[in-house]
C-alpha cells in the first residue's frame, strides 16, 4: 500500500513541474472570484441554520461547543461554560507559541500550539474541562504545526518521526494512549487532516517541486492513506469524507492559491460545487462546508453546505462585494464563523445537526 502512495506521488511530482510554469494569472476576461451560482447543482438561497451572534469580537478566535466556548486571546486560551455553571478553564500562553487546533468535544478539549523558527517538534494538551486538568501530549510526540482532527475520543495529528519527518499519529483523548501511525518513507508531508464519521482524510505533498505536488487520500482500516479517485493529479488541497463519497478541492492556478474548485463525488457521479476559498473545507454535524468569496461586486461572501446530495447556501454576509469569511470552526455539531466586510464584521454560530 505504501508503495502505491509513493508511486502516485512520484508520478504526479513530474507533472506538477510542467504545470507550474503555465501562465495562470487571472485575465480581465476571466471570472477570478468564486462563482458558486454557476454550479450545475441547484442552489437554495437560504439555509436552515439559525445563526446567532457569539457576542465576541470577530477578530477573536472562538469555537462554540454545546457546553463550552473556547476563546483564544492574546495571552491565553480560555474555556467558558455556556451555562455559567462552571469556572473558566484557562490555558496560559506560557508556551510562547500560537494556538493552532482547538478541538472541543463535550467536556474535553485538545489544543495544539505552533512555533516559529526552524522548530520541528510541536506541543499539544488534553484538557478535562470538568476538572481543569491539562495533560501534555507526549507520545507520539507532535510535529510542529499542521492540522489536527478529532472524532469523538480519537485525535489524529502529525507526529514527529525519525529525521524530522511528520508521521500520522492517533491518540485517545480519555486515557492519553497514543499510537504511531503511517510514516512516509520519502520526503512526503502531511496536511489538511479532516476526520468525521465517514472517514479520515488527508493531503500528502512533496517537498521537491517548486509548487508542492499534492495527493488527496483517505485512511483505510489500517490507517494507511489511500489516494482517492477524482482529484486531478497534484492539484488537490481540501478533502473530507462524506456519507455518499468525498468532497475535495483543487487549486488549478498556483498563482491564485486562495481560489479552489470544489467537487463532490457520490455514488451517482461527480458534482461541480463551484469555486471556494482554499483551506476552508470543514465537516460539521454530518455535513460538509466551505467558504466562497463574492463572485461579483453585488454578491455576498457565502458559506456553502454539502449534505451528501445537495449544495445549499448556509450563510451570507451582510456586506456585498468586499467581504470574506474566515475558516469555519466546528465543535459538538455547532459551527462558528467570522464574517468580514465593508458593512461591518460579525461572528455567529449555529447548530448544524
Amino acid at each position: 500500500m505504501r508503495r502505491g502512495v509513493r508511486t502516485a506521488l512520484a508520478a504526479t511530482t513530474l507533472l506538477v513541474l510542467a504545470a507550474c510554469g503555465a501562465d495562470d494569472e487571472p485575465t480581465a476576461e476571466q471570472t477570478s472570484t468564486p462563482t458558486p451560482t454557476e454550479s450545475e447543482t441547484p442552489i437554495e438561497t437560504s439555509g436552515p441554520l439559525d445563526w446567532q451572534p457569539t457576542g465576541r469580537s470577530p477578530d477573536a478566535r472562538v469555537v462554540v461547543g454545546e457546553r463550552w466556548t473556547a476563546i483564544a486571546g492574546e495571552s491565553d486560551l480560555r474555556f467558558e461554560s455556556n451555562a455559567g455553571d462552571a469556572d473558566d478553564v484557562v490555558l496560559p500562553d506560557d508556551s510562547g507559541g500560537s494556538v493552532d487546533a482547538v478541538l472541543l468535544d463535550g467536556d474535553s478539549a485538545v489544543v495544539s500550539y505552533g512555533f516559529g523558527g526552524e522548530t520541528t517538534s510541536g506541543l499539544g494538551y488534553r484538557v478535562d474541562l470538568t476538572t481543569s486538568e491539562q495533560t501534555e501530549i507526549v507520545t507520539p510526540e507532535p510535529a510542529n504545526g499542521g492540522d489536527w482532527a478529532r472524532l469523538g475520543d480519537s485525535v489524529h495529528y502529525p507526529g514527529l518521526g525519525e529525521g524530522g519527518v511528520a508521521c500520522l499519529a492517533t491518540l485517545s483523548v480519555a486515557d492519553g494512549n497514543g499510537e504511531d501511525g503511517w510514516c512516509p518513507s520519502g520526503r512526503v508531508g502531511i496536511a489538511e487532516l479532516e476526520a468525521n464519521e465517514d472517514g479520515v482524510a488527508v493531503m500528502l505533498f512533496d517537498y521537491a517541486s517548486r509548487v508542492s505536488c499534492r495527493t488527496l487520500a483517505l485512511l483505510d482500516q489500517s490507517g494507511i492513506p489511500q489516494p482517492v479517485d477524482g482529484p486531478a493529479e497534484c492539484t488537490g488541497w481540501d478533502i473530507a469524507a462524506t456519507s455518499t463519497g468525498i468532497v475535495w478541492s483543487e487549486v488549478t492556478k498556483p498563482k491564485r492559491q486562495e481560489v479552489a474548485q470544489f467537487h463532490a463525488r457520490t455514488d451517482s457521479g461527480t458534482e461541480d460545487l463551484g469555486q471556494g476559498s482554499t483551506g476552508t473545507l470543514t465537516s460539521c454535524g454530518g455535513d460538509t462546508f466551505f467558504v466562497s468569496d463574492p463572485a461579483t461586486r453585488t454578491d455576498p461572501a457565502r458559506l456553502m453546505r454539502w449534505d451528501g446530495a445537495e449544495l445549499s447556501v448556509a450563510y451570507e454576509s451582510t456586506s456585498r462585494g468586499n467581504a470574506f469569511l474566515g475558516r469555519p470552526e466546528c465543535a459538538d455539531g455547532i459551527l462558528t464563523i467570522s464574517s468580514f466586510g465593508e458593512d461591518g464584521d460579525e461572528q455567529v454560530s449555529a447548530h448544524v445537526g
Partner: protein, 392 residues
C-alpha cells in the same frame, strides 16, 4: 532544523518586561553627561540640506525631546510607549518616529503602540514566539533604540526625520490625489518640482497592470528574512541583477528579530531608482489606518501604474487573510507589483510572497511565490497590522 525547547513558565514574561523596563530606564532617556551639543538646532546646515529651516527646527525639537526624556523602572507600558512615540509636523503633515506619516495624533499613536506592546508575544524575551517571518516586533524595536547611546540614537532619529522632511511633498500629493485633501495654497511655490513630475505621470489607469518580472523571485532563506527577500526582489526589479539576501540584510540592519519598515523604505530609496522623479519619488512609510478600501485601492493603482514602482506591503500574516497559510504568523513584508479588476468587478492584488512555509515547517506544502488575491483581504491584512502602514 532543531527541536523546540520545552516551554517556560509564565514567570519568563514578567522577567522579560522587567528587563525591558530597566533597559529603557538605564540607557535611552538619560542624557549623556559628555554630550557634545548633538541635538541642538543648526539652521546654517539646514540651508544646504534641502530642508526648510522651520522643518529643521522641528527635527531638532523632536530629537532634543528624546534626549531629555526620563522614565523610571516603575513606568507602565503606556509610559514607555509615550516616551518612544514622538512626532514632528512638517508643513502640516505629521511624521512619527518608527511609524511613519500619519493622521493620528502623537497621543493616539502612543496608545496604539502601548496596546501592541501589551499583547506582543516577544515581550517575554526569552520564550519562543509564534511564527515570525521577519517583521520587527514593537518590543524589539524599542529595545534596539534603547540599546543605542543617546548620541547614536539622536543621530539615527535625526536622519529618519530629515528623510521624512524631504519627502513631505509626496505625502501631500498622496493626501490630495488619493484622499482628496486640498493642497495648501503655497504648495506649488514650495514644491515646484512636483508639478513637473506629476504632469509626466498618467492619472487614468488601465483595468489591469503589473510590473517586475515574475521570474525574479526568491523565497526568504531564513525564517526572519522577509525584509531582505522583499528588498532583494525589489532591487532585482530595478537592477535586473540578483544580489544575495545576506547583502540586503546588511543594508537593512536586519537582526534575528527582523527588519523595520523604516529600514525597508530607507533601503529602497538608497539602492534603487524607484525613488527618482520618473517613478515614485522618495518612498515614505505611510499609515493607512484612516484610508478607506477605495483609497487604498487607488493608491495601489497610482503606485504600480502611475509610478511604475513596487510597493512594500506590510500585512499581518493571518490565515483568515491568506488562506494558503497553515498557521497564523507575524507581521510581514511582501512586494506589491500588480493590480487587476476583473470583468465581474472583483479587485485583485498581485504580489511576490517571500514566505515559503514549507521551507521551515514540515507540515506545510509549498506554494507559488507569485500570487494574486482578493485586494480586500490584503487591505484588511494591512489594516490589521498594529502599525497599519506600508512603504510607497
Amino acid at each position: 532544523m532543531h527541536p523546540r525547547p520545552r516551554p517556560r513558565v509564565r514567570r519568563s514574561a514578567a522577567v522579560g518586561i522587567g528587563a525591558l523596563a530597566l533597559l529603557l530606564v538605564a540607557v535611552p532617556f538619560l542624557p549623556d553627561s559628555g554630550r557634545d551639543g548633538a541635538g541642538r538646532p543648526d539652521l546654517e546646515r539646514s540651508a544646504g540640506s534641502g530642508i526648510a529651516p522651520e522643518s529643521q527646527a522641528e527635527i531638532e525639537r523632536v530629537v532634543a525631546e528624546g534626549e531629555s526624556l526620563t522614565v523610571d523602572g516603575r513606568s507602565s507600558t503606556y509610559a514607555l510607549a509615550i516616551a518612544a512615540t514622538r512626532c514632528a509636523v512638517f508643513e502640516g503633515q505629521r511624521y512619527c518616529l518608527g511609524l511613519g506619516w500619519t493622521t493620528r495624533t502623537q497621543q493616539e499613536a502612543a496608545e496604539a503602540l502601548a496596546a501592541a506592546l501589551a499583547t506582543d508575544p516577544s515581550r517575554a524575551g526569552d520564550v519562543e514566539q509564534p511564527e515570525q517571518t521577519g517583521d520587527l516586533d514593537p518590543t524589539t524595536a524599542l529595545r534596539q533604540r534603547a540599546a543605542m547611546s543617546t548620541k547614536d540614537r539622536a543621530r539615527v532619529e535625526r536622519a529618519e526625520l530629515e528623510t521624512a522632511a524631504r519627502s513631505v511633498a509626496k505625502v501631500w500629493e498622496i493626501r490630495h490625489e488619493i484622499q482628496g485633501v486640498p493642497l495648501p495654497d503655497d504648495f506649488a511655490l514650495r514644491h515646484p518640482e512636483t508639478a513637473i513630475a506629476a504632469r509626466a505621470k498618467p492619472r487614468k489607469h488601465p483595468r489591469a497592470f503589473k510590473i517586475l518580472d515574475e521570474r525574479h523571485v526568491r523565497p526568504q532563506n531564513l525564517t526572519y528574512y522577509c525584509g531582505p527577500a522583499t528588498a532583494q526582489m525589489i532591487g532585482w526589479g530595478w537592477r535586473e541583477r540578483r544580489q544575495g539576501q545576506a547583502l540586503w540584510a546588511d543594508k537593512l540592519h536586519t537582526s534575528t528579530a527582523g527588519t523595520s519598515i523604516s529600514d525597508m523604505v530607507r533601503v529602497v530609496n538608497h539602492n534603487t531608482g524607484y525613488d527618482n522623479d520618473d517613478h515614485a519619488g522618495p518612498y515614505v512609510v505611510l499609515d493607512i489606518g484612516d484610508f478607506t478600501y477605495l483609497q487604498w485601492w487607488r493608491l495601489m493603482k497610482r503606485h504600480i501604474h502611475g509610478y511604475k514602482a513596487p510597493i512594500v506591503l506590510h500585512p499581518i500574516l493571518h490565515k483568515k487573510f491568506f488562506p494558503y497559510l497553515d498557521d497564523d504568523a507575524s507581521g510581514h513584508f511582501q512586494v506589491g507589483r500588480g493590480y487587476r479588476r476583473t470583468q465581474d468587478g472583483s479587485k485583485l492584488i498581485g504580489y511576490f510572497e517571500p514566505w515559503d512555509q514549507s521551507r521551515f515547517d514540515p507540515t506545510e506544502p509549498r506554494i507559488a511565490r507569485t500570487q494574486w488575491q482578493s485586494a480586500y483581504k490584503s487591505f484588511r491584512a494591512n489594516q490589521a497590522h498594529f502599525q497599519h502602514n506600508l512603504g510607497v
